[in-house]
């Protein structure tokens, strides 16, 4: 097994998919000759040619709209949106068509496709490149939404998304593209959509995070461990469907919850998780479910991004407050 970064693992997953499934197409802006602005498609254009790894015009609605047509007529498009902050022009195609086509055609012509998009901040990217608006997509029935936090999960989740018959939004935490290396199995393997990953087992409190925030939550858990606090840390991986069982079991065990996300607080995914926990584990809660999130302000330009994004210390402090409740 090779040690790979997340972006290398993604590239490897795409290569495996192209290699093993002739219906797979990769399309998007700069994914071909250039190998992607993050090098997530590096080498694939050379290897698989211009008919399978396709540089498109600069038009997100066009990319997703034509991908839907490609899917209807037999292909499995894996479309790249260069940054999640630029997914909005394709919002109508995603929300109105990709999500609903299976229902609307009663199973005849599902829009079986994957939409990859780097998201989140922390890398000093220019303005408007750093959104993490996953909850918008989680709200739309018919979509699945996943995000990995490790290289191994990145490849396995990607292949699961490609294998999945439903449209999957696959969010890639930019900040983690190159920050971790780990052994990544070769060939095709899948990390099932809908199953969370237990990062740490603990007794005192449940921490829930995903994507970019997993290392932050993990950092807090480590710090807290030194203070004698044992955290049960869940990396959701799958934002829709949610792994309710893992979440609820943990909450029933600990009775206390801190949710960490990078998106603004109001109507973020933390809200849904809170509601879910309230519904299924109300009597087990010993303190209010607490959210540590981005603020309810536009994602700031990078000078203030580290103040906006949840930090280890903000998470630790929230945990201590919850424990003191």
């Amino acid at each position: 097994m090779k040690q790979l970064t997340m972006v290398q693992a993604i590239c490897d997953g795409l290569r495996v998919a192209l290699d093993q499934d002739p219906s797979v197409l990769i399309l998007g802006e700069d994914v071909g000759k250039n190998g992607g602005v993050f090098r997530a498609t590096e080498g694939l254009w050379n290897e698989f040619g211009d008919d399978r790894v396709i540089d498109t015009p600069l038009a997100e609605a066009g990319i997703i709209g034509t991908s839907i047509g490609l899917a209807v007529n037999g292909f499995k498009p894996v479309a790249e949106i260069q940054f999640m902050g630029f997914i909005y022009p394709a919002f109508e195609q995603i929300v109105t068509h990709a999500a609903r086509l299976r229902t609307r055609t009663q199973g005849a012509f599902p829009a079986s496709l994957v939409i990859r998009a780097p998201y989140g901040g922390g890398i000093r990217a220019p303005e408007l490149h750093c959104d993490s608006t996953e909850s918008l997509f989680v709200h739309i029935p018919g979509l699945k939404v996943v995000t990995p936090a490790t290289p191994k999960d990145a490849k396995g989740l990607l292949l699961a998304a490609i294998q999945d018959p439903d449209p999957v939004i696959y969010l890639e935490p930019m900040k983690l593209y190159r920050s971790i290396k780990e052994e990544v199995p070769e060939g095709w393997y899948e990390v099932p959509i809908g199953k969370a990953r237990k990062v740490r087992e603990g007794e005192d409190i449940t921490l829930i995070a995903w994507g970019t925030m997993v290392p932050v939550a993990e950092g807090a858990a480590k710090e807290l461990e030194k203070k004698g606090v044992s955290c049960d840390l869940i990396d959701l991986r799958s934002l829709y469907p949610l792994d309710e069982e893992t979440i609820i079991q943990s909450v029933k065990k600990t009775g206390r919850v801190v949710i960490v996300h990078e998106a603004p607080k109001t109507a973020g995914l933390g809200a849904e998780l809170t509601a879910l926990i309230n519904e299924h584990a109300f009597l087990y809660l010993e303190a209010p479910v607490t959210r540590v999130t981005g603020y309810d302000a536009p994602v700031p330009m990078f000078a203030l991004e580290d103040d906006f994004r949840p930090s280890v210390s903000r998470v630790s402090e929230a945990v201590q407050q919850v424990l003191a409740f």
Binding site: L25, A59, A61, I68, G69, N73, Q93, T105, Y240, E244
Partner: protein, 358 residues
Amino acid sequence: MLGQLETTYVQYLSPEGKLSVAGHAVWNQLSAEMKISFYRWMSFVRMFDRRSVILQRQGRIGTYAALEGQEAAQVGSALALSKEDWIFPSYREHGVAMIAGMPLSQIFLYWMGRVEGCKPPEGVRLLPPSVPIATQIPHAVGAAWASKLKKETSVAVAYFGDGATSEGDFHEACNFAGVFRVPAILFCQNNGYAISVPFSRQSASPTVAEKAKAYNFPGIRVDGNDVLAVYDVMKQAIERARAGEGPTLIEAVTYRKGPHTTADDATRYRPASEVEEWVKHKDPLTRYTRLLKAEGLLSDAEEREWEAECKAQIDSAIKEAESSVPAPPEHLFAHVYAKLTPNELRQQQQLRKRGGRR
């Protein structure tokens, strides 16, 4: 043909039912069966359409988008397609849908607000009506692109209105079609209005066809009430597409005789004289019937017979649709995903337990 001025259009059959020189040539190439087929479908579509308007008034179907006046554009173009071709319609292409092989009863079900009506029979490559304007155009381009990548000869056609040309999706789809030279036909029925907004407020360029230049493929303007011209122009575009010569934008100039939908009042925004001109003098069915009769291919008796036959088919389809057992409430979860998640299964179960109680 492709070199015409966009502000004129291809016309073979005059409103008086007379063939032009070019029209004669096209006419002579057609089989007798095809000649009668144009009539039959246009007449059938019209009867279906009028009946649907009545059904809406009777409260038996919901808001309905009538197509009367646009029969030639729909029938002429749809008859040029083959079974292997893909169709991405808007909400007004019932005529196209029928020809593509969508059972009438399904079309009625759709307008009864029943999702079952969306599903085409096996082998019919027809998508459900696309209500959000212009959004189906990129789908057609994608499907055509797929044909090209698979080295198949099937083409894909998107049907849309003049209003749709203002949407970004129209532009992006045309642009992809041009760049990747896909076998797509972008078929615009320019009926002069997007609900109440006239084409002059929709576009500074006087025609839709000329917009194709921006994408470097042919744009053809055709008399959309001349079924022969539409058929021929469509046929040529399909041939070009199958031959790998890329997309064509077709602008079929037509008019909807009635309101936008049964919920609309077109007298608020269209002058009566304009409507009269189109209804009385430019009707696509009248025009073609005149030709057939002049050519001795249709008698009054045959006309009556065919209309009776249509009526019977329509009656039976209505009966079928109205007697089709309504899907139970929990059906709203059918096909949301290939396999429902625990969350939806739970919700579906709750809904099922209500047993239809609201």
